[in-house]
């Protein structure tokens, strides 16, 4: 009888905890303001949520190898580990760019089972230690082996907090590498080989207000249209989205502070559809995704989700990492929530504040954890449902057949 009572008690606690910590997305009822008809949730994919369990942690992926990338394990250099991971971008299955917010000095003694990332200590990698801005941009292969480090550009990140995001536009045959630096208010555009910085948007260490078209204030994310024009969310300081042409010339902006349509509180993510050119913006502190046309006209909002990061997949779905539930969520372009997985934690497969996610054409998913202090590579399980895999957008073949 005592055992039964304990079982009931444990179950009640479990249900309570699940209800408390479970994703608010599960409970969301869409209330779109815009023209798109409010869709119904797709019951099949969502039905598994309440079950919880280990299968939910990594979804359709295998548990990641905690020693990936080999470059960072056991240490990039003696006494130091890679730090807060601002971003990751998969150019191909064999070229993965890591945006590291500096290296962290290890305590004199660490446990034997220390896995090599700061999150192991259950403290945030992003703010606790003071980082050394070394190896901020690193390229590794599919096995995580070191290809190159752009140490020549490390100096750009001193006096900030390191790179916020890293990208290559899918529509750029020259494959320039873009790096967002929020705290220094700029976006860098480098040649593919890292030898030259060809453009810098914004001005280093000079912020501008919401009406200033020459300066950012803490820019966060970028995404592109097929014609090469691009959108920037700006950001921690400002409350707007800016659009530039393919050459970086300012075209338009929209947004102000607030909670209404077209208003923002920490726009922290953008994903752009290649077909209808809709612009999906993470309005993180307002806990919603807002949808606009490419000219900034408000179309819709999807409530109860606060993405740290969003991407448009090759099959034109919006994948996001929800900062509230610490889960990966998949939406169709009308806001139907189709699938979700993940769980907060620091063990392999669990995640802590994924700040940029990316996928390659083989379905490998990479997630950079800004608090966990690591980037994990998730490989699809054999026979996994393709609908539960993030498929990276293909990149335009590189002009001249360069390394890719």
């Amino acid at each position: 009888m005592r055992r039964f009572a304990l079982l009931v008690l444990a179950s009640s606690v479990g249900v309570f905890l699940f209800g408390f910590f479970g994703s608010p997305i599960l409970l969301q009822q869409r209330g779109g303001r815009g023209g798109a008809a409010a869709p119904q949730q797709s019951g099949g994919a969502l039905a598994q949520y309440p079950k919880g369990g280990p299968g939910e942690i990594v979804g359709a992926y295998e548990i990641p190898d905690q020693k990936w990338p080999a470059w960072a394990h056991p240490y990039p250099k003696p006494g130091y580990i890679w730090g807060s991971q601002g971003g990751v971008f998969a150019e191909s299955p064999n070229r993965i760019w890591l945006a590291n917010r500096g290296e962290l000095k290890l305590p004199d003694k660490v446990p034997n089972n220390f896995p090599g990332n700061w999150g192991f200590f259950n403290v945030q990698a992003a703010v606790v230690p003071i980082a050394s801005m070394s190896n901020c941009i690193v390229l590794v292969d599919g096995d995580g082996k070191f290809i190159e480090s752009w140490t020549q550009w490390d100096k750009l990140f001193e006096w900030g907090r390191g790179p916020h995001q890293i990208y290559i536009s899918p529509y750029d045959p020259e494959r320039h590498v873009w790096v967002v630096d929020d705290m220094r208010h700029v976006i860098h555009k480098f040649t593919h080989d890292g030898k030259r910085e060809v453009q810098m948007l914004g001005e280093m260490d000079e912020e501008g207000d919401n009406d200033d078209i020459k300066h950012f204030r803490r820019p966060t994310f970028i995404d592109w249209l097929p014609n090469g024009s691009f959108f920037v969310t700006d950001g921690y300081g400002n409350k707007r989205v800016l659009k530039f042409d393919k050459d970086g010339k300012f075209l338009l902006k929209w947004g102000s502070e607030g909670t209404g349509p077209g208003q923002f509180n920490t726009p922290h993510g953008v994903a752009v559809g290649s077909r209808d050119h809709h612009v999906f913006v993470s309005d993180r502190s307002n806990r919603r995704i807002q949808v606009f046309d490419e000219n900034g006209k408000f179309l819709d909002e999807w409530p109860n989700v606060a993405p740290h990061t969003m991407i448009m997949s090759a099959d034109e779905h919006v994948w996001a990492y929800d900062s509230i539930s610490e889960r990966v969520v998949k939406y169709d372009l009308l806001g139907h929530l189709e699938f979700a997985f993940g769980q907060f934690g620091t063990r392999p497969g669990y995640t802590w504040a994924v700040h940029q996610m990316t996928a390659d054409a083989d379905g490998n998913l990479y997630m950079a954890e800004v608090f966990g202090g690591r980037t994990q590579k998730f490989h699809p399980k054999p026979g996994a449902d393709p609908a539960k895999i993030v498929w990276g957008r293909p990149l335009m073949p590189m002009a001249g057949g360069g390394t890719q």
């Binding site: 403290v123 945030q124 992003a126 703010v127 606790v128 230690p129 003071i130 980082a131 006096w159 907090r161 705290m183 260490d205 912020e207 207000d209 204030r217 803490r218 921690y236 300081g237 920490t266």
Partner: protein, 159 residues
């Protein structure tokens, strides 16, 4: 000989003043906090957005020194007026309050008659003060950045 001595004395008196002035206002003085506009500050986070009750500025032709005890301990920041960086190192705290050696960087520039002071440290704090002098009143347009967000405020001080 007397002429040479006189020349030295004259130069000694004139040059520093000339260097200090160069047509720019002199911000030197002890400044006492009056009010903020808007009341409090706009943005998230606190830290450097919180105004010091009192601070002392000293201005020469070469640099500006700002002394305050905002955080319960004396702080002295030096801003070179030639636009170059001044980098120092001191015991401090990380964002989470953990003791750490913190590097500081300061620089300044003139924007007309406004004085712009920049302060960074490796504990992820940034501050930009744009100072305007009007008689015995000092107005500071202050923006701060830290990982948690940004703040914008206007502070008023009296001599």
């Amino acid at each position: 000989m007397r002429r040479v001595a006189l020349l030295f004395v004259t130069l000694a008196l004139v040059l520093p003043a000339a260097g200090r002035a160069q047509g720019k206002p002199d911000f030197s003085g002890t400044w006492k906090y009056d009010k903020s506009d808007p009341a409090g500050y706009k943005g998230t986070g606190g830290g450097w957005a919180v105004p010091a009750p009192t601070f002392v500025m000293r201005q020469t032709g070469a640099e500006i020194t700002v002394e305050s005890d905002t955080y319960g301990k004396p702080m002295k920041m030096v801003y070179k007026l030639d636009g170059s960086d001044n980098i120092t190192e001191a015991q401090g705290e990380s964002q989470s309050g953990v003791a750490a050696v913190v590097r500081w960087r300061t620089k300044s520039r003139w924007d007309g008659n406004k004085l712009v002071l920049y302060t960074w440290n490796t504990a992820l704090n940034q501050l930009r003060d744009t100072m305007t002098l009007s008689g015995a009143q000092l107005t500071i347009a202050r923006v701060t950045e830290n990982p948690g967000g940004s703040t914008t405020t206007k502070l008023f001080y009296n001599k």
